[in-house]
């Protein structure tokens, strides 16, 4: 093929430009530490990375919710625990006062203590977590329980607060009315019975308190079970989060060893091209030789 002078120069310039482009690309990748900068650099990997990031965002969102639910349930568990201890004392007291050896004075003293226990339980029933009442259904800004005229009054509602975790829904709150109303009523009944000094009334009230305690224990157990489920979700979500981050990194991040090796290779190639093409450009032609 006949080679014209312009062909030689054009080819030399093209080769240098191509080598420069490759070096620039390798430098960008090495300094950005990213396998691609724009979607067009690698559409498949970029699309997958975007999709994974969305999933990661959703996972993080569920994780935040799961922690919030766990906190709520922990606060609930604390209330349950305190109530359980208070009720245990109430049962001991009530059982003791059933004995005929206790007279009206002892029983009145016990009634006073019982009302103290009632107040403790009432306080727990109105527990607050981050400004929201734990046992009020949806009416989280309304103090749910009061004892009016000897009867427990519930001002909350029956709303079930649900939260979405990864692939399933969990109820965060308890059926407060069903748990605390019998408890408060039976404590109040027991206090009245102790005040009245009627053994059969005390016995009846104790029966009601035991029944309320069973219901309460079941609710506590249910809370515990749900909380275990939430904590398992947290564990799974954290593992998923790590896995997703790893996958995103595999898609997005440049293999630095590879990037640096390629940079070195392209720089060496560029230097070689410069060396070769400078010879081409400065090559003599016949005019230089002829006298």
């Amino acid at each position: 093929m006949r080679i014209s002078t312009k062909m030689m120069y054009d080819r030399a310039i093209d080769n240098m430009n191509t080598a420069m482009e490759r070096v620039t690309k390798a430098r960008n990748q090495a300094s950005n530490t990213k396998a691609f900068e724009y979607i067009s650099d690698d559409p498949l990997a970029a699309t997958q990375a975007l999709s994974l990031k969305s999933t990661l965002e959703k996972t993080q969102s569920h994780l935040d919710t799961a922690h919030a639910v766990d906190d709520w349930m922990s606060a609930s568990e604390l209330a349950y625990k305190n109530v359980t201890e208070s009720v245990k004392r109430a049962l001991e007291l009530g059982t003791g006062m059933l004995s005929e050896t206790n007279g009206p004075q002892e029983r009145r003293g016990a009634a006073i203590e019982m009302r103290g226990i009632l107040d403790e339980v009432l306080e727990q029933a109105n527990s607050n977590h981050n400004g929201s009442y734990l046992f009020a259904g949806y009416a989280v800004t309304t103090r749910p329980f009061s004892v009016v005229g000897g009867a427990a009054d519930y001002d909350g509602d029956d709303g079930q607060i649900l939260q979405d975790l990864d692939g399933h829904t969990v109820q965060m709150n308890a059926d407060a009315r069903a748990i605390f109303e019998p408890m408060l009523n039976s404590l109040n009944e027991l206090a009245d019975a102790l005040d009245s000094n009627v053994t059969t009334d005390i016995d009846t009230a104790m029966g009601h308190l035991l029944s309320a305690t069973d219901t309460f224990s079941q609710a506590r157990t249910l809370n515990g079970s749900r909380q275990r489920q939430v904590r398992l979700s947290i564990s799974n979500l954290e593992k998923t989060q790590l896995e997703l981050q790893k996958m995103i990194s595999e898609k997005e991040d440049a293999n630095m060893v590879e990037a640096l090796s390629r940079l070195k290779l392209e720089e060496t190639a560029f230097e070689t091209v410069l060396e070769v093409e400078q010879r081409t450009i400065s090559a003599m032609n016949l005019f230089d030789v002829l006298r």
């Binding site: 002078t5 691609f36 970029a46 965002e57 959703k58 639910v69 939260q163 979405d164 032609n285």
Partner: protein, 467 residues
């Protein structure tokens, strides 16, 4: 019979022919780097011979040569290779233009970063999840509203970007159409000059070079086809319609469709023309397909997204126990905004499904779950998937355009090498030619000297005996 005087004429013809050939060589050397220059070669030929009449009496006459002459200065060009070059260059320009029109957009949209619309949509739904996990939390509601304002701003920004990009590309098309008309006019003017020169028996090689360079440039703008005419003119057609005939160039006009905003190129006072190749084709593709599609799909996303959120929000209750408030205003990417009733009013964010139920998070959960609801593209994609698909399509189009451009650039370079191989100047070759013609010139001058001496012998040396 030949004479000494004819010998002088012979030597003179050699001197003149070689002198002219050297001039051709000089011209080549001077234009070795001139873009578009086609080397010229001196085609030498013998002069018209004549017969010796003294031998006409039945005997075979001797034929005497009359020296050499420069018969032609041939321009080394190949119209077939030129046509192939223009076709490939046109395709390369088409894809380069398309890629060039779209690539800056990708850089500005920057969807792979945390400021991309995908990331902002993700954050929006995450903030709703945050409200759902603690509906009472005013701080969480404020975060939601602030981020939602950022999200709508991102929509509007992208709408503006796409509109501006389309405007810019459309303006560029107008400029390129003007450029095409200008080039066509220049080719038509050259046609006239070349035809005149050819009619006078001249060889307007430099004018032909200039015209070919203009045709090359036209080829990068559009899918022209050129046909050499016997009188030296070139007929240029575009999509089967005459663009240049003789010294007349038909003009193209540019306008935009009042409804769609698409660029429209038509013959002056005539039908529309679909340019299939060249820079103009690439720009038209970007302006009439890619950019409007992106814009339209962005509007669809903004509209459907706002509708879906509003449908749930307007039937839900805020902490003020009011319902009926949409979350977003506007129904397109350029108008979407957080409803002014909500700005600075976090309590009005409707997370609850019932009145007097501040702990009810059902509406917030429902809105958050929109992130995975398949409400786009006939119920097959979520909002985020839909937008990702648009960006992936854009990325693929840029990548494909770039790959096609490189492929056609390689082909163009290969054909250009063929052209250069035929038409390019080799300084080595010209140096050798120069030496050749120089030596021939020197020999001719020697010849002249010999004849001169011979004449001198006759004129000054004969008939002097006894003087």
């Amino acid at each position: 019979m030949s004479s000494l005087l004819s010998g002088i004429h012979l030597a003179l013809s050699a001197l003149q022919a070689n002198q002219a050939a050297i001039e051709v060589t000089e011209h080549n050397v001077a234009n070795a780097s001139t873009p578009g220059y086609r080397r010229q070669i001196a085609v030498m030929g013998t002069g018209v011979p004549y017969g010796d009449s003294e031998f006409d009496n039945g005997r075979t006459g001797l034929i005497y040569g009359t020296g050499s002459q420069l018969e032609q200065v041939r321009r080394m060009a190949n119209t077939f290779v030129d046509a192939r070059y223009r076709a490939e260059a046109g395709d390369a320009s088409r894809w380069e233009a398309q890629s060039g029109a779209l690539q800056p957009l990708e850089a500005v949209l920057n969807e792979t970063s945390t400021s991309g619309l995908t990331a902002q949509l993700d954050q929006f739904f995450r903030n709703w999840q945050g409200v759902a996990s603690d509906p009472q939390n005013i701080g969480q509601r404020e975060v939601l509203l602030t981020q939602a304002e950022g999200l709508t701003s991102a929509f509007r920004y992208r709408a503006q970007l796409l509109d501006a990009a389309r405007r810019d590309v459309t303006t560029e098309i107008s400029h390129q159409v003007d450029q095409l008309n200008e080039l066509a006019g220049q080719v038509a003017a050259l046609n006239e000059q070349i035809a005149q020169q050819a009619a006078a028996g001249n060889q307007p090689n430099d004018l032909l070079d200039r015209r070919d360079a203009l045709l090359d440039e036209l080829g990068t703008l559009s899918n022209i086809q050129s046909f050499q005419q016997a009188n030296g003119e070139v007929l240029v057609s575009l999509n089967g319609h005459v663009l240049i005939a003789s010294n007349v160039a038909n003009k193209l006009e540019f306008s935009t469709d009042p409804t769609s905003g698409d660029p429209v190129i038509s013959w002056s006072g005539g039908p529309q023309v679909q340019i299939a190749s060249g820079k103009i084709a690439g720009l038209v593709s970007a302006a009439s397909q890619t950019l409007p599609d992106l814009r339209s799909n962005l509007d669809t996303l903004a509209h459907d997204f706002a509708d879906a959120v509003n449908d749930l929000h307007s039937i839900a209750y805020g902490l003020d126990n009011q319902d009926g408030r949409p979350f977003f205003n506007g129904d397109s990417a350029s108008t979407i905004a957080v409803h002014p009733d909500l700005i600075g009013q976090p309590r009005r964010v409707a997370a609850s499904g019932a009145v007097d139920a501040p702990g009810d998070n059902s509406a917030a959960r429902a809105i958050s779950n929109l992130s995975t609801s398949k409400l786009m593209d006939g119920g097959t994609q979520s909002f985020i998937q839909y937008y990702n698909q648009q960006m992936t399509r854009l990325g693929m189009e840029i990548k494909t355009a770039g790959a096609n451009a490189r492929q056609h650039q390689s082909a163009t370079a290969a054909i250009n090498q063929q052209r250069e191989s035929l038409s390019g100047v080799s300084l080595d070759e010209e140096a050798a030619n120069m030496v050749r013609y120089q030596r021939s010139y020197q020999a001719a001058t020697r010849l002249m000297t010999v004849v001169d001496e011979m004449l001198d012998t006759i004129i000054n040396g004969m008939g002097v005996v006894g003087r």
